[in-house]
Amino acid sequence: MELPASGTAQTIDDGKPILELHKICKYFGGVHALEDVDLALYPNEVLAIVGDNGAGKSTLIKTISGAHRPDSGEIYFQGRKVEISNPRVARQLGIETVYQDLALVNTLDVPENIFLGRTPTRLRWFVDKKKMFAQTREILERLNIKIPFLRDPVQNMSGGQRQALALGRAVAWGGRIVILDEPTAALGVREKSNVLTLIKQLKAHGVAIVVISHNMRDVFDVSDRIVVLRGGKNVASRPKEETSMDEIVKLITGALESVDIAHQD
């Protein structure tokens, strides 16, 4: 797998977070999906977010990707306060996301999905199909994604291919932050290791990565730091070296209350 040569983020690593969330709250009716969540993400870092089903992981990343607007709280991008009011703003900041449900349009073909929302045009109004196909081939080749029929609607593709496609769509543009919501859920052993390698390569290129996963082995394989959400609250943040699977699992289930608040950022 090769990463995009052009456009990859040139983030100055001055030890300051590239993204900071401060006291983020999000309610769905009576459900407190997120309560006063603080979070910091550093360049060159793989941050894993773990938690039980319904802990608020997807909701949290959706406030970063512009899919949800938080009900209160602030977001800082490179120290500057930003309002990520819609997904376009996030993309402009260089935040790319692979959603848990992949957000593919099943009835469209591969290039149309890859270029969804950033379709190249000719004469302003018209879709540049040729360019889309050429660039799609290039992207898929670079990322070692094998999809034989680009013209087929993506609903005909296997779960693994679809996931690879969604992943390719996010990393192809050289974003500074890549968010992956359960990126290995539908993958076989080989594809999964491909994805984990890709994450490490992105990191080597200076990209900051947020990855949500239920698989503790994957989490401990790729991440530098692990944040635990429980009931919409950030209950712990641990550098990988300073924790164990056992502790993380206990934090997730609530068997272990987080006592050392000092540990959090």
Partner: protein
């Protein structure tokens, strides 16, 4: 075991060919039946008759294809067509130049469509209920403007648009051809058209990928309303008058034609060519029943059944593809 699999695959392949071209299959099948039951059907006069009868419906349906493709619905297009027709006729009677009257009619219709679209998207109200309401408004406005009396005796030069010929081809057919080509290009080649189909396929994905979903949806209603208004011009010119009942129920013909034509009821695809075939089916059924001298009330029943058939065939097609896909994933 092997041959069983082979047989299943062959069956799939046959089904797929038939389903993909189901409109053509139905048109041929229907033609054969009609030819068999009445010798009048396959005469050139009659076929031209069918063609002329479907042009207005076809102009409307072509635009409607984009609506269904975007997973929207507009039940007001028929009533809007009627209203634009009477406004146009009133303007002409008042002495407004033809080109200006047409321009006002088209602009008015388009704005109405957009207004409906804005209400639907801004307040997130189901489209069918909003357009059902606007249809009522248009119909009422129609009756108020006309005082329930048709607007007749429009000038010959205006009637030419509906009755004249360009060479051997009736002008309405030329208009249909132009509208058809433009909509085909819009749906398949333009950013707007592709965004509309993306919204129809997965509105949430479209939003998450930064498509301005609301704008696209309003645009789709505008296109449908514009096509309905063009239909109004053609229909009014052909009759050289505006009938108060014009366009009534035409949205149902459009839904039938579009869905039989292969645009799925649940959006994400738009088959504009299929819609033309779908219009032919609607036209042939009406024409056949006329030729057979069947009571017009039965024709209403037949139309209803045709819609049911169209929807059913769409559902069965979708289910078939889902089954094939499931089998493929299992095989993997």
């Amino acid at each position: 075991m092997r041959s069983k699999e082979g047989q299943a695959q062959l069956k799939d392949a046959v089904y797929r060919v038939v389903l993909r071209n189901k409109v053509a299959v139905i048109v041929i099948f229907l033609g054969l039946i009609l030819n068999f039951v009445t010798p009048l059907f396959l005469t050139s006069t009659n076929l031209f008759n069918v063609l002329r009868q479907i042009t207005t419906t076809a102009i409307l349906s072509v635009g409607f294809t984009l609506v269904l493709g975007a997973r929207e619905i507009d039940l007001s297009v028929g009533a809007l067509l009627g209203l634009v027709g009477v406004i146009l006729a009133k303007l002409l009677v008042a002495g407004v130049p033809i080109w200006l009257a047409i321009a006002i009619g088209l602009a008015f219709g388009t704005v109405c469509g957009m207004a409906g679209g804005i209400i639907i998207t801004l307040f997130e109200i189901p489209a069918f209920i909003v357009t059902l309401a606007t249809a009522q408004v248009y119909r009422g406005a129609n009756y108020l403007i006309t005082g329930m009396a048709p607007v007749t005796k429009l000038s010959e030069s205006f009637a030419f648009i509906g009755q004249g010929y360009l060479g051997p081809i009736p002008i309405p057919v030329c208009i249909l051809a132009v509208v058809f080509v433009i909509v085909v290009v819009v749906v398949n080649k333009t950013l707007f058209g592709r965004h509309a189909i993306a919204v129809g396929g997965n509105i949430e994905a479209a939003r998450l990928c930064g498509i301005k979903v609301m704008r696209v949806r309003v645009g789709v209603y505008a296109v449908a309303a514009l096509c309905a208004s063009i239909g109004a011009v053609v229909m009014t010119a052909r009759a050289a008058s505006a009938q108060i009942g014009a366009g009534q129920g035409m949205e149902m013909d459009a839904i039938t034609a579009v869905v039989i034509g292969g645009t799925p009821l649940y959006g994400g695809n738009a088959n504009v060519i299929g819609t033309l075939f779908g219009c032919m089916i609607v036209g042939m059924v009406n024409n056949g029943l006329n030729l057979l001298g069947i009571d017009s009330n039965w024709q209403v029943v037949a139309k209803g059944l045709l819609i049911l058939f169209a929807v059913l065939s769409d559902v069965l097609t979708t289910r078939f593809y889902e089954n094939v896909r499931r089998r493929q994933t299992l095989a993997e």
